[in-house]
């Protein structure tokens, strides 16, 4: 929806910490999988209505300033509430070990993550393309004025879209919690990767984001085995290459 949100990483972090709290309290990972997205949707909706709504007509730069502010606020709130210690939660029961397929061994939790990613990806693509809601959202994103003329309640659509995005980020946080460490600064590194993925895929296209994620994921893994030092640099080189060949991303519409 053409909003440059640097605080999206914070939603991911809040999702991870929600997972930590829920798992510590109830030992039930699946419950966290539900609680986090709902919590993030509420936070997302509130932020959109109170803060972001005024910014749509000012272009990207004020959005950078505001969302940068939010990242600072969120990281401080998390650190003062949970303390700076690095925390971790074990993968849900049954997914802790490793699976041996032929010669390669895969950690079963990684396979689980792969599975969930595919399922959610598919749901999103279907939802985005086929359902009425998806069409409405796409209209709202592609041409605000036209959508307004067609009687789409724009403010509500944007609030929903933003909240939905925040919920997804929260979900990603929960899924990532057992895989990575949970600590107050964890939002920074995922944010850059997420922005890279979205841009490589092409803005405004869900399939693009999925494709971008696959390209970056493979690029990172291959990169770190070939020359581990420069893996991070490799991802950006990949992004640069894609943007030079197709200036609006792999599946992006010509802006």
């Amino acid at each position: 929806m053409d909003v440059l949100n640097l605080a999206h990483g914070s939603f991911y972090m809040i999702g991870a910490y929600t997972a930590y709290t829920v798992v510590m309290a109830t030992q039930n990972f699946w419950l966290a999988l539900l609680v986090a997205p709902v919590l993030l949707a509420v936070i997302g909706a509130a932020l959109e209505m109170v803060f972001f709504r005024r910014l749509y007509r000012h272009g990207h730069l004020p959005q950078v300033l505001m969302t940068f502010g939010f990242t600072l606020v969120f990281v401080d709130l998390i650190r003062s509430r949970f303390g700076p210690t690095t925390r971790a939660i074990p993968p849900p029961p049954g997914l802790g070990g490793a699976v041996h397929l032929a010669t390669a061994t895969f950690s079963s939790y990684s396979l689980f993550v792969l599975g969930i990613a595919i399922v959610i990806g598919a749901l999103l693509v279907i939802g985005w393309r086929l359902t009425r809601l998806g069409v409405v959202l796409r209209a709202g994103v592609s041409d605000k004025e036209m959508a307004g003329l067609l009687g789409i309640d724009l403010p509500r659509t944007f609030t929903f879209t933003f909240a939905f995005g925040a919920a997804l980020a929260g979900l990603a946080g929960v899924i990532a919690a057992p895989e990575f460490a949970i600590y107050p600064g964890m939002d920074a590194n995922v944010l850059i990767l997420a922005l890279v993925v979205v841009v490589i895929g092409g803005l405004g296209s869900i399939e693009g984001a999925l494709l971008g994620a696959a390209v970056i994921g493979l690029g990172y893994v291959i990169g770190s085995t070939l020359f581990p030092q420069f893996a991070i640099g490799l991802i950006f080189a990949l992004m640069a290459a894609v943007l030079i060949i197709r200036p609006s991303g792999l599946l992006g519409r010509r802006s």
């Binding site: 053409d2 440059l4 640097l6 803060f51 005024r54 910014l55 000012h58 990207h60 730069l61 004020p62 950078v64 300033l65 505001m66 940068f68 502010g69 939010f70 990242t71 600072l72 606020v73 969120f74 990281v75 401080d76 709130l77 003062s80 850059i192 922005l195 890279v196 841009v199 803005l203 030092q229 420069f230 991070i232 640099g233 950006f236 080189a237 992004m239 640069a240 943007l243 030079i244 200036p247 609006s248 991303g249 992006g252 802006s255």
Partner: protein, 301 residues
């Protein structure tokens, strides 16, 4: 002019620590002004401008550690080094526009940051290059004025800042500047009128990079080190914020924005415990109440 006089008086009354902060703010102001040449005048929102700030710092650091002692050669090294980096990056990035350009410049800056961290033989990785001597001032040695004292170094930064301000102000009033604004307003029309818009934008990108390189070399001299942190995306972010807070399409705006952002960041973080909360809230408040920045305030009044 009033502002310049006020700034010039700082070393006389301000306590040592705040002269240091003011010097850092001046260097950051030069960096922010160069960014607004891109963002405000050429309509190119770059999120990777810190790359040239960092390259300038490293170029100056490498030269200084290689026993080059002159002030001018060191500044030139920073400027030309950054310019040399800006040319290829600009040539590639300018093939895109809008948010893609923003992301592409971010990508190149992070690549250079990765290089600075990993090319240990040249940059000594995360430890960075430390112990960089400040150059001797030609001719002034007899008056035992050395750049090692805080006052003279502050004046050097002030002079460079004023020089950059004057050059940039005249640049945007020159035919080149007007053409740049035309390209920002309507690139298609300018091409139809016969302007090779890509070359103008690239020239603007390289010029802004060179000025950022000057700021970088001053930073290397001031702190005596060049570390990969200078190239990290948060530095580009802060510079962009200084421009937005100050107000685009002016140079006094970003300079004020730079002072505000730096005083807030350095001041808050050393004084209050939960400085990130305060800084974040300040930024949010700024966007809500001053969407067009400080200068916007003046213009509207």
């Amino acid at each position: 002019m009033l502002l310049a006089l006020a700034l010039a008086s700082i070393p006389l009354w301000a306590p040592r620590f705040w002269i240091y902060i003011a010097t850092q703010a001046l260097i950051f102001a030069i960096f922010a002004m160069s960014l607004d040449l891109l963002v405000g005048y050429a309509g190119l929102p770059s999120f990777g401008h810190a790359a040239f700030y960092g390259v300038g710092a490293y170029a100056c650091a490498l030269l200084a550690l290689g026993h080059v002692d002159g002030l001018v050669p060191l500044l030139l090294a920073g400027m030309l080094g950054a310019g040399a980096a800006a040319l290829p990056i600009g040539a590639l990035s300018l093939r895109t526009s809008g948010i893609y350009f923003l992301m592409l410049t971010l990508a190149f800056a992070q690549m250079l940051w990765g290089l600075a961290v990993n090319w240990t033989s040249l940059t000594r990785g995360t430890d960075g290059l430390i112990g960089i001597p400040r150059p001797a001032l030609p001719g002034l040695d007899t008056l035992n004025v050395s750049l090692y004292d805080r006052g003279p170094f502050f004046f050097l930064c002030l002079l460079v800042a004023i020089a950059v301000f004057v050059v940039l102000e005249s640049l945007v009033r020159s035919p080149f500047g007007k053409t740049l604004e035309g390209i920002r307003e309507n690139d298609r029309r300018m091409r139809a009128l016969g302007f090779p818009t890509f070359r103008y934008r690239l020239a603007a990108f390289v010029l802004a990079g060179m000025v950022a390189g000057i700021a970088g070399s001053l930073a290397a001299m001031s702190n005596g080190f060049a570390t990969p942190d200078l190239l990290y995306w948060t530095v580009s972010g802060l510079a962009l914020i200084a421009v937005v807070v100050g107000g685009t399409r002016s140079f006094i705006g970003p300079a004020l924005g730079a002072f505000l952002v730096l005083f807030a960041q350095l001041g808050l973080s050393t004084y209050i415990d939960r400085w990130e909360l305060a800084l974040g809230a300040l930024f949010i408040a700024f966007v809500l109440f001053l969407p067009r920045g400080l200068v916007g305030l003046v213009r509207r009044a």
